[in-house]
């Protein structure tokens, strides 16, 4: 019987929730990395026992952790303790937490600054890894979306990281600016039909696409309208919160923007608004049903500044028509006095039938629906604030 493994990153550690395919009884493991912020964990589709984790701290900076046994044990994939930090020829060995922006003339030179809050230009400064996206086919290859916004890649299981500087250097960087949460690259989608094609999204710059494996990039924001920036239809500067894709239709993308839920049917060449009858079109996560590519999920949030559910009712909204027509999903979710948020990386779907949907809240609850959203139940209620939720469907 199939199993699921839910990987939860929180403000104070990581938790791993496991269940059989019924998704009714759960085992909870954790906290792993107690006391550290775990922005994201994600398993390799090519080897589910390999899981990568981003461990960060305002005191000690960034750490990358890796498990090769499904999260039971972890290690930093650099040099083990007691071993020399240099190879016999004197070259440094891997340092798994070293993210250094590419400043070589060939790749990094075109861009060294971005827009700061006051409109001046500001140098790029590495702060943390927001999102880890393992390769679909190679367990040793993994991408990291970081703050200040850039994309890094490791091809040695997380031991060393190199920036794909064509993104940061492609030309619009001086117009990127941080959102309230920092200038983060939070979304990485790999096209399963063409691994050279990837999509990424940055707050607040927008969405970008590469068709050559990350060497060159271009903005894909036509159709986005953001009333809060000087030119609402600018090429970049949009606060994209999340993009989702169903692997069976990789050219169809769904986006939760700071305001507006959007869709694209042509790999991001153009976008149309599909907010329809949502009570508010602000929110953070968005996801797509595993087997119904026109069924999508969002969690409407009241904004600006409140960032909690409207009327104190925690409601997931589902559209079975690819947007515009939405229904509130409330069964099992608190419908009074609920003032939590659901962050952008804190929703996921499994591959079982019926499709399971999961999300975590800043109040420390992780909810599961084992029936595609019709009903919900908490797996855990009292974790630290949840930053991210991923799920692995295991044989």
């Amino acid at each position: 019987m199939s199993r699921v493994r839910v990987l939860v990153g929180t403000r104070k550690g990581a938790f791993i929730l496991t269940s059989d395919g019924k998704r009714g009884r759960w085992d909870v493991s954790g906290p792993h990395f107690s006391g550290w912020e775990i922005y994201h964990l994600k398993g390799s589709p090519a080897d589910p026992n390999r899981v990568y984790a981003s461990q960060t701290s305002g005191w000690f900076g960034q750490i990358i952790q890796r498990s090769d046994d499904g999260g039971r044990t972890w290690h930093q994939p650099g040099t083990p303790p007691g071993e020399p930090t240099t190879a016999p020829d004197g070259t440094p060995k891997g340092e798994s937490n070293k993210f250094v922006y590419d400043t070589s003339p060939e790749t990094g030179k075109p861009l060294t600054t971005h827009q700061w809050y006051d409109g001046t230009q500001h140098a790029w400064e590495f702060k943390r890894v927001w999102h880890l996206e393992p390769s679909l086919s190679d367990p040793g290859t993994v991408y990291a979306g970081v703050e200040d916004a850039a994309l890094f890649r490791s091809t040695d299981g997380g031991k060393t990281w190199q920036e794909l500087a064509g993104l940061r250097g492609h030309g619009t960087g001086p117009q990127w600016q941080p959102g309230a949460g920092g200038m983060c690259l939070h979304t990485i989608l790999i096209d399963p039909s063409d691994p050279r094609r990837m999509y990424i999204a940055i707050s607040a710059a927008g969405a970008f696409r590469t068709d050559d494996g990350g060497k060159t990039w271009r903005p894909i924001n036509r159709g986005l309208k953001s009333q809060y920036i000087p030119n609402p239809e600018a090429e970049v500067g949009h606060c994209v919160h999340r993009i989702a894709m169903n692997p069976s239709r990789p050219k169809v993308l769904f986006m939760q923007k700071h305001w507006d839920v959007m869709r694209s049917d042509n790999a991001g060449e153009s976008w149309q608004e599909v907010s329809g009858n949502l009570p508010t079109d602000f929110g953070f996560p968005i996801d797509v049903h595993a087997h119904e590519p026109e069924t999508i999920y969002v969690v409407p949030i009241k904004s600006d500044s409140e960032h909690f559910p409207p009327d104190g009712k925690l409601r997931v909204y589902r559209s079975r028509t690819g947007g515009n027509e939405w229904e509130a999903l409330t069964k099992g979710l608190p419908q009074r006095d609920c003032f939590v948020n659901v962050l952008r990386d804190a929703m996921a779907v499994d591959r079982l039938d019926p499709c399971g949907v999961y999300f975590g809240t800043t109040g420390g609850q992780v909810y599961v629906s084992a029936d595609a959203g019709d009903s919900w139940a908490p797996i855990v209620r009292d974790l630290p604030a949840v930053l991210s939720v991923e799920v692995q469907t295991l044989p």
Partner: protein, 98 residues
């Protein structure tokens, strides 16, 4: 032997209990002690000093012999009591945050 006291989270990363003892060649300074520390515990690279600038991370401090040495030049000699191993060099995490 130089003795270094690490914050709890860094002891966990380095997989050590209690003080760390290091052999330091040449002058005993902040830089030489931290270089020796990172050479023995490579997983601590970047956690005390920034990878690129080698600057002390803002929420960490260096204390020894009851003095805050955080703003001393990195190549200034540490107190004799630290160099002789009588007193440890404390790496302290700021009491801050939530």
């Amino acid at each position: 032997m130089i003795r270094v006291v690490l914050p709890a989270h860094l002891r966990t990363l380095a997989q050590v209990n209690g003080d760390v003892e290091l052999q330091v060649e040449g002058p005993v300074t902040q830089r030489s002690v931290l270089d020796a520390l990172e050479a023995r515990y490579p997983m601590l690279h970047g956690t005390i000093r920034d990878h690129v600038t080698q600057q002390r991370r803002p929420f960490l401090r260096y204390f020894a012999c009851g003095e805050d040495l955080s703003h001393e030049p990195p190549d200034a000699p540490l107190p004799d009591a630290v160099a002789s191993g009588v007193e440890p060099l404390f790496i302290i995490g700021a009491i801050a945050g939530g």
